[in-house]
């Protein structure tokens, strides 16, 4: 999707999460099968909804087990739950409910998280959400979207609503300058080169392009990481050296790359958020630097990797 095909007007300064809240009342009004299930977070955005949809905004309070458990029950009756809170509470705190009350029951929901890895670094470790995608990787049948722009978040959300499957939509404060067409779940080729492939995920696309400026590498962009688009990686591959730039736990998709390149001698470098407890606060840029996924850190790591055997 490009900016001129966005289905809603763009609001200056609006981030992915703002867009989600702005869209939600209209989506509920248009689609009677939808139900928003909330655990206090962002309830204030839905206080003014019309009475006709108010009964499909279910705030369970600060009860994340029930947040996901009730979503499972709603799905069993044919409803399509949109389940929302911070990533750490949605996926980690209610982990067994995600596993059993959705997957094991054979039903789905659209889990929409906010907060990403450290959108609120002042909140510290308890509010960091970088383990989410890796955790979902232990389960069957999850589609995972990591949009890089509010327009992409909107397109991916809208596309997820008609189904009955399990979808995770990971909203971040940070976005790329412009949206890209993410409608088919495939990776986009941002640049072609011959000395390796760098896969930039979601909001890290612009930064990855800047960090690889002048390097002879292919840069791919993924806003959907599960299922992983192995075909685009294989068909665009020149040198079998692959760098993953992911805004969540470092190495989360390394196994996907290994599987995609099975039968081919290759190297993989996973860049992303480390698992060490940093016990630091500050601003997101501090943590990008700490984990080596700021522009300078990315350039250093990618250059070192592709020139390692020169």
């Amino acid at each position: 999707m490009s900016a001129d095909t966005a289905t809603t007007r763009t609001v200056p300064g609006e981030n992915q999460r703002d867009r989600f809240y702005r869209l939600l009342p209209g989506l509920l009004a248009d689609q009677p099968r939808l139900v928003a299930v909330l655990a206090e977070i962002s309830v204030n955005y839905l206080e003014e909804v019309p009475p006709s949809i108010a009964d499909r905004v279910v705030n369970v309070g600060i009860r994340e087990q029930l947040l996901v458990g009730a979503a499972g029950g709603l799905a069993l009756t044919g409803m399509r739950p949109i389940v929302h809170t911070f990533a750490a509470f949605l996926v980690e705190r209610a982990w067994e409910q995600v596993k059993l009350d959705l997957g094991h029951q054979g039903v789905g929901a659209v889990l929409v998280s906010a907060g990403a890895s450290y959108d609120w670094p002042e909140g510290g470790e308890t509010h960091f959400g970088h383990r989410d995608v890796a955790l979902l990787d232990t389960l069957d049948g999850w589609t995972v979207h990591v949009p890089g722009h509010p327009d992409e978040a909107e397109a991916l959300l809208r596309a997820a609503l008609p189904g009955d499957d399990r979808v995770y939509l990971r909203l971040a404060s940070d976005s790329n300058r412009l949206p890209r067409d993410v409608s088919d779940g495939r990776m986009r080729v941002l640049r072609r080169g011959s000395r390796g492939t760098v896969i930039a995920v979601g909001p890290l696309a612009d930064r990855t392009l800047a960090a690889t400026e002048g390097l002879d590498v292919t840069v791919l962009y993924a806003a959907t990481v599960r299922p992983f688009d192995a075909e685009t990686l294989r068909t665009t591959l020149d040198s079998p050296d692959v760098v993953l730039v992911e805004p969540y736990l470092r190495g989360t998709s390394t196994a996907e790359v290994t599987a995609a390149l099975r039968g081919l001698r290759h190297r993989v470098l996973g860049l992303g958020v480390g698992r060490n407890e940093s016990r630091r606060y500050g601003v997101p840029a501090d943590h990008d630097r700490l984990h080596g996924i700021d522009e300078a850190g990315l350039r250093r790591a990618i250059t070192g990797f592709i020139t390692e055997f020169d």
Binding site: R63, Q65, G69, G73, L74
Partner: protein, 238 residues
């Protein structure tokens, strides 16, 4: 709310056949109290209360029975077999690799089983969501009954569901608690009090007395969720 059915579900098997059906799974003609703690409650529900039938397991207007306490499901399978939801011939392979009947039930394998359970503390949350969903989809006649154990209630997830069900006036939800005094820390003041304080109507009942169980299930008359605490003697042989 639940009502007594005008005509009992047709079945060639009666209550007196359940012991033999259990034996097909256990291989033992005697069944200890823990294996049968749910038996009378399940029988009363399927024989007198639930508007369900083998030919309408996907009917959106059916009542939903959610077995949250998934362990020890022999009584459940025996009742489902007695009511023709599953073939009696399936019972002897209970727990086998090719059997649909595990030591914990799986809704995707057994017709009429509404949830897969086994890990304690999931049924009440699923039941709250189901009750909300039935209301949203206009299925006002369909009731939700969830069965939990007194020890299972120790899981904190139940507290979340009990509170929200009460506050949202889920009159289409009934919880039946099988109280065989197996909770290690006990429930001083009784289990029903925990539900009452959250806005539920409550009944304590002898979990082996079929007529009393029927009266307890059909006692709810308002928009409050309803709990039936069915007391069974943990030592009583059957």
């Amino acid at each position: 709310m639940l009502v007594r059915m005008s005509a009992p579900n047709q079945a060639s098997h009666g209550y007196d056949d359940l012991a033999a059906l259990l034996t097909l799974m256990t291989g033992d003609e005697k069944h200890d109290a823990s294996a049968t703690s749910t038996l009378d409650v399940l029988w009363v529900l399927y024989d007198r209360i639930l508007r369900v039938a083998p030919d309408r397991v996907d009917d959106p207007d059916r009542d939903r029975f959610l077995l949250s306490k998934g362990h020890g499901p022999m009584a459940y399978y025996a009742v489902l077999a007695a009511k023709h939801f599953l073939p009696v011939a399936d019972l002897p392979a209970f727990g086998g690799f090719d059997s649909p009947l595990g030591y914990h039930p799986d809704r995707t394998l057994v017709p009429g089983v509404e949830i897969g359970s086994g890990s304690l503390g999931h049924g009440l949350g699923l039941a709250v969501g189901t009750a909300l969903g039935l209301r949203m989809t206009g299925r006002d006649r369909a009731a939700v009954v969830v069965l939990v154990g007194d020890a299972e209630l120790e899981e904190g997830s139940n507290a979340e569901a009990i509170q929200v069900a009460g506050r949202r006036h889920l009159g289409n939800l009934t919880t039946v608690v099988i109280d065989n005094s197996s909770a290690s820390a006990g429930w001083p003041g009784g289990i029903a009090a925990r539900f009452a304080v959250e806005g539920w109507s409550t009944r304590d009942v002898d979990g082996r007395d079929h007529d009393a169980l029927e009266r307890a299930f059909t006692a709810a008359t308002d928009d409050r969720p309803h709990v039936v605490v069915a007391h069974v003697d943990p030592e009583e042989p059957r």
